[in-house]
Symmetry: D2
Subunit: 337 residues, 4 copies
């Protein structure tokens, strides 16, 4: 931590800052410049930098250690590759997840899964517990939905991802799904994150609507700190002033995260834009920018979908897109599996 | 719902939209203007407006019913007044809540509470379970913290508010606290909201960092829909591009919410600004704008506080501020109790 | 315009609204639903919708006509293709603009231009008048810079784009440059836009830091309304809460704009991210999403650049990127020229 | 400037950074901590910190000198008080400016001014040149509007403020108005700011829609650097994700600016909220938070106003508000004149 004093501060004030940080368990290294005296506080203790900023004569306090450890490239240099039934995310592999927003019925899932499987998709998505803004909206089929997902996935030898909303649901999810998904609204539900750190299944962690990349990585750190090393990050759009699209998909998060962290980052173009005709261009942009995976909403009959039909691709649209994505991936030296 | 067709749409396309909404259970009322044909869809069913927006010839779909019911002034015209041991929020009353960020020890709470009580404060705040961005930060004393809170509050005949983070903690909180607080990060933790709808104690619901006022009211609707009518809304700053203050306190939310909803709205100037010297001006601004309460961090010794000392007032600062707030409240025809 | 009345409004209030809009020159069409009465206001006059919203009994007023005319696909269905010395933007063509942030000297421009030309680039960028946040920063070489640009461009038979900051500079720019650039900070400098409407050279209009897509298109409308039909839109990142990147590049603006407008949209990945190693992934993302052009900062010696060296590519980096972009463009059926 | 090296950087990389900054004209002070080596770069030269961030081994570069000089409290400790015909802004004085959005006619201004004067207001606002999002909206009466303003102001012995949009308009404005206003959209129109630095009349500088407080102060620095010391800052709402209000009025900017700068800060609650019934609560909030002035839209007949009638107060509403503001100002030890 670096403490920058105001220009021409008195010795007295500088000494008080030094006494303060020593009392908090830090060593102090003083360095005088032409304008500013800078005090380096060296130590392992945790301190709220604002406590120092309020001392007289202090101009600014700057944290220089990264807050994250396990998620960082400094901790692990090479890419984490997450392998689910042979489908890989990270390390040059682009994993594809597809399926409807919500599990509606066995038939719906069966039709969708059979089509997706025929295109080469091996990871199926589908919501059973739905986080809805309104208490009056459809809240999902619950455990029944997970059972359907599992039955269909087994039939086609696919893996499953679905959103878990609550600590008490975790054992149930462990029984049915391969990747537990944490929704954007729960990105800082710390009790949920801690509990997910104790299991040994991959977690797909969506970025919160207004979460900074640092906060997002810190939420991944919660899961890893519990011992679960398999975290997939998912960029799904951030909230900005622009309301033509539902959210603003932050494509630049891909190279930014990949530089800081070894964890794979996938992109959800469906929730980010909220409109079907924007899903294809944004999927392509994500692959071209180097993402490690995509999670795309596909429904066999979007017009009659219970939820988010408007952002779901028709199976045929998905098939065509899938082909283009493979061609793009080749250009940027990635492999879609 | 109003469906605006593109200029010069064909009759054919108009008919297809009519067929579509009828099939979804709505009546259709067609009105032709010079440029645009507008179709009114009348009915009680829930439909995703984007499904209609994707039909050929449709320019825009506009929802005209409010999504909230129980929280709205249309449902209840007069202010909800929440009364906790004689301290009132709403209906011209400005309730004051004060106390430290975190319960650290019995002595800390005892000193703080005795001072606050002597100034006339009757509702004590203090965190026992803390939502922290980093898994390596202090996470609170847990149930031990709630016990201390309760013991001290009983000694001084004060009420208590503290943050609940998880469904499974609710019974414990019911035993100790008078107002259960939902943090900004849990504003859309829908399972928690539903469970809080089933209890019969007031809930203080903080606005999410990037929650629109509509989403915030919908979260209150979740609690009310469960049968719990005692919800206090709490504005605590929103996330914007400006980073000099930790968040941007949205003072205009006060009159906006009060027009739409009958629920009381309190303001948390401590978390919004993150800096002690901004707490007083923002508290005054909130009262002048007509808020129904304030929740202010006060610590008997901010320099040694475990958490958020930098934004905590010294007791003497609070005492002075409290006097000014009373004078301001009188000017705007409110009563601070 | 549609005026939605509150549920159960009295006839009296409905009549007052009708009288009001008739007096303002509109026809009124009343349509009664089960809950809401809706009044359609039909006419060509301009009215501030908030004036109606303030009338008693009015719930909401909804504008249904698009505010833009000349920039919209309704006005011109097929893509505007802007052709500068054979380099095309729009209609399936991806135009590439490259060069340094700032013109520093003849030699600097000569070296950079010769390299860029050898790679196949035909449009050169370079700032002569620089909009700088601080009055103490280098403000550009002024007209001298434009002269250097012109001399070098002529030598290599390239076209030029450079930023114009002020109405009085326009004649000077007409003499030297092929595309006049309007910076993000001047996107709503309406006097400048009007004056640019009167010339007959293409204008590259950058999106303002916090401009909605609608506002941006309205600024293009200013230029087109003056008679200048050659506007190139340029997405260069919007301001959000995320500060790891300088701005958040809104890649989704590409398909959104292309649906609404016939104007070409180019992307500036250099200013959006502010860091060299993010320029390549974001350029690729933009091409994959279907952009009509790119404007990329390249400097022959970024380490000694006067300005924005940190976001400038080395010529060799650009050369490599250029090849990848061509391969990507082919996949999405576009042609880089 | 402080350069923080990555943990365990080699001596070689440290030396290269030192060589680099020395070559750029800085002295280097090296300080080694347990984890990080920090290099202090001392000197007066201007350097883009990103140039250093790109050197191998560098983790972060931190600027520690403030970018502003003349606007800061370090340059001038006591408040700048701007006095226009006896009306003061700053130094404990709250100056009130009122009037319509737009000058429409002599009669309109005469009626409004006579009422405002009778309440005690001495500074009149009114737009003659209007920055409008659409080229098809009313653009103001131009010089004719300024003449009307001047004639009416002289009749009632009032001062005038009006918005200047372009460098070439400045001489005209100097002839008619007492305070030249710079609109939010022109906050970074640097040519305009430079030209306003050369005149000797006060400038009211509105904050840009997405301008940070630092950028806003830097724009004030442009004016002061030219020699014009009379700048009044005006907070008028920032753009956020919340769209219920037109903008989010950043009340906390008041104490933040007052700590950094000696310049007076006034608040425009009319443009920030865009709705008449929010103007009173936000005006009160601003005064309670300690603002140095207010600029409020008042129209003698808002229902027939050409522009922004919806956010204009009726004269009687303003009169009542004015009384309340005086009472509030007394409580916070300010004087409304």
């Amino acid at each position: 931590m670096l403490i920058v004093m105001q220009p021409n501060t008195t010795e007295d004030k500088i000494q008080k800052v030094i006494d303060f940080i020593k009392q908090k368990g830090f060593d102090a290294h003083v360095s005088k410049g032409s304008d500013h005296t800078v005090i380096g506080a060296v130590g392992r203790k945790v301190i709220d930098k604002r406590d120092i900023e309020l001392l007289p004569g202090v101009k600014e306090v700057i944290r220089i250690s990264s807050p994250y450890k396990l998620v960082s490239r400094a901790f692990q240099e090479k890419d984490t590759i997450i392998d689910i039934k042979g489908i890989k995310f990270g390390g040059g592999n682009v994993g594809i997840i597809a399926g409807p927003c919500t599990v509606e019925s066995y038939d719906q899932m069966d039709i969708t899964a059979s089509k997706l499987k025929s295109y080469g998709v091996n990871v199926l998505r589908g919501g059973a517990f739905k986080p809805r803004t309104s208490p009056y909206s459809f809240q999902g089929l619950g455990e029944e939905g997970l059972k359907i997902l599992k039955e269909v996935a087994d039939k086609y030898n696919m893996a499953i991802t679905s959103e878990v909303m609550e600590v008490s649901q975790i054992p149930m999810f462990e029984k049915y799904v391969d990747i537990l998904q944490v929704g954007a609204r729960n990105m800082q539900n710390f009790n949920l994150l801690k509990s997910l750190g104790e299991i040994r299944k991959p977690v797909l962690l969506k970025r919160g609507l207004s979460a900074t990349i640092e906060e997002w990585l810190m939420s991944a750190e919660y899961i890893m700190a519990g011992g679960n090393r398999e975290v997939i990050l998912c960029e799904r759009g951030i909230r900005t002033f622009e309301h033509i699209t539902r959210n603003t998909l932050d494509i630049s998060a891909i190279p930014v995260v990949q530089k800081i962290s070894h964890l794979p980052i996938v992109v959800d173009p469906s929730h980010a834009t909220g409109l079907r005709d924007k899903v294809a261009p944004m999927s392509k942009a994500a692959v071209a920018a180097g993402c490690d995976g995509l999670i795309i909403e596909v429904h066999h009959s979007p017009d009659t979908a219970v939820c988010d039909g408007a952002q779901s691709l028709y199976p045929e649209q998905f098939e065509e897109l899938y082909k283009e994505l493979k061609a793009l991936a080749t250009v940027v030296n990635k492999k879609i599996n």
